[in-house]
Amino acid sequence: MRDTTIAMRRQAFLSILVTLAVVTAAGQQRTAPAADAQFPAYRAPHRPDGHPDLSGIWQALVTANWDLQDHEAQSGDHPEVMGAYGAGPAGQSIVEGGEIPYRPEALAKKRDNFAKRMQVDVSDDKKWHALGDPELKCYLPGVPRATYMPFPFQIVQGSNSTILIAYEFASATRIVRMDWKQESPADAWMGWSRGRWEGETLVVDVSGQREETWFDRAGDYHTDKLHVVERYTPASPYHLMYEATIEDPNVFTRPWKIRFPLYRRMEANLQLLEFKCVPFTEELLYGAFRKPTAR
């Protein structure tokens, strides 16, 4: 009898706790970002400055570096040398609505880029960037491509209005200047990044990017009118939801969006290593200019 009463009391107490938890969660949901179907509402731990902590080593698991849009598994160029090493994985489009809204003439250029993605010719300064995927040549990848290359990157969230993002690929680095309003003073391969907080989301406005970067190995490209707005939203202790709106009136008929999760790398003592790829591409770029009798 006594046991039953205690059990009943415990049950009542538990139900109050559960109710409280639900009410609290509902309260949080109002401030938390709109919950994705994949993720229940989540609020990341906050830094002393009142903003979510995005620090950590992150990596995308999409295959968008091969192609932002739907793509089948594919053989690489020179399968007679590279075999299955050179092949690319299949993947689903990360573009909202599936298709990138190209202008017709721009779509032709994208196809031409793809056809010539492994050709390079650096014999003439003026045509230095005309051919080949910049990734093949180990050039800084630009934004957003740096985010979905098959390499990790680290967010170092400073306490002085600066967030540094370091990418393993090519040891590329970006400085995100918080609440910085200036125009981009000069074009840069990684562009100029202005950050701001919208609730739980870090919003980064990127302009001033060099026109030579591509979005993927499929030849998707842009001009110097590229404007990218990125959104990093904590979705769990182990995930950030990443979204980027891409605008370039020279190439696209309207702004378009990509969206995918970033995964926290969890290995103990994991650190970014170096993928300084210049030595890996020099033979391709410069080998033809070697003294005929040397090496």
Partner: protein, 336 residues
């Protein structure tokens, strides 16, 4: 005559600037206590610049003096600035062509000596010079001879291929590898801290060095990197960074010391709101007869000034110019 007057006036201005310059690197005002990050670490964040004309090693012209008087310092600085400036027309035609890459492109801060009027950045040993080499193994002597031959081909305008060029020319590493030494331009370093990490982003090239300060062990010995593997700890308000695990490629380590035995320890101490002392000690018993230490003052840049991206390899037209020039010279039998 007019030039002489201007030079005398410039010297006077320089002397006054030096006389009034504070703080003095190496003699941190004891009372200064750096701000702290919200998680309690000394706050070193900001963009710093290490340009100076003070040479790494003490030149023979200063009579062995470690520190100069104001007057001597003014003369020393003027002489160094004269040697370093590219806005001069007193060389032959070839020198003149090289100086077309003139001071417009250079960091003007590199024409001033350190505020403490030292004659070398090296503070130990006391003679301000890199200690003598120990006898090198025959293999290392051969490797050095091969590298010297490649450098000579490059200097003669006849590189065989890109591998005859140095890592900086090839844009593999530049001033992003420790020790950080002042150079002709792009002397900025941006420090960003988050709990457990101090990150140093050098302007040239774009490799951020992310230094764990959370007590974790170094990478396993076999995993080597161009910038090595750095671990930091706080000693009072000083960040102490030890770096090992360097790759053995030519030019990765200062003066091609031995990657198996080379160790560098850097000490970063903020000594004023706008001044930081950068001190490094290198030791390698299979290269130098003893350890040596240099002290380089870092000054905070004007907050309105930006650190720019230094993308090096992406437009490295020079490599092709050097190589096509060499092939043409070979065909015509000409040397530079």
């Amino acid at each position: 005559m007019r030039d002489r007057v201007i030079r005398v006036m410039a010297l006077a201005v320089v002397s006054m600037a030096i006389a009034f310059a504070v703080p003095v690197a190496g003699q941190a005002p004891k009372k200064y206590s750096p701000p702290r990050t919200p998680w309690g670490d000394p706050d070193l964040q900001g963009v710093w610049n290490d340009a100076t004309s003070t040479p790494l090693q003490r030149p023979g012209t200063v009579g062995g003096k470690e520190v100069l008087t104001d007057e001597e310092a003014a003369e020393f600085q003027a002489a160094l600035a004269h040697d370093l400036t590219r806005d001069r027309r007193d060389g032959g035609p070839e020198v003149d062509v090289n100086r077309a890459y003139n001071d417009h492109w250079m960091d003007a801060r590199r024409l001033k000596i350190t505020a403490d009027r030292r004659t070398s950045l090296i503070v130990d040993p006391a003679d301000g010079r890199i200690p003598p080499l120990v006898p090198l193994s025959p293999e290392r002597q051969q490797a050095r001879a091969a590298r010297a031959a490649a450098a000579a081909r490059f200097q003669a305008g006849l590189p065989n291929d890109h591998l005859d060029m140095s890592l900086p020319v090839r844009c593999v590493i530049r001033t992003d590898s420790p020790p950080y030494l002042p150079t002709i331009y792009n002397n900025d370093f941006q420090i960003v801290q988050s709990p457990g990490f101090v990150t140093i982003a050098p302007e040239m090239i774009h490799s951020a060095r992310i230094i764990p300060v959370d007590g974790r062990p170094h990478l396993n010995k076999g995993l080597k990197q161009w910038l090595g593997d750095s671990r930091g700890r706080w000693d009072g308000t000083t960040l102490v960074v030890e770096t090992t695990n360097f790759r053995s490629d030519d030019g990765v380590i200062f003066q091609n010391a031995n990657p198996a035995t080379f160790k560098i320890t850097e000490r970063f101490t903020r000594v004023a709101a706008d001044a930081l002392n950068y001190e490094f000690t290198v030791e390698d018993p299979t290269t130098w007869t003893k350890a040596w230490t240099a002290l380089i003052p870092w000054n905070k840049i004007d907050p309105a000034e930006q650190m720019y991206e230094y993308a090096c390899h992406e437009d490295n037209f020079d490599i092709i110019h050097f190589l096509t020039g060499a092939r043409k010279r070979e065909r015509s039998g000409e040397r530079r």
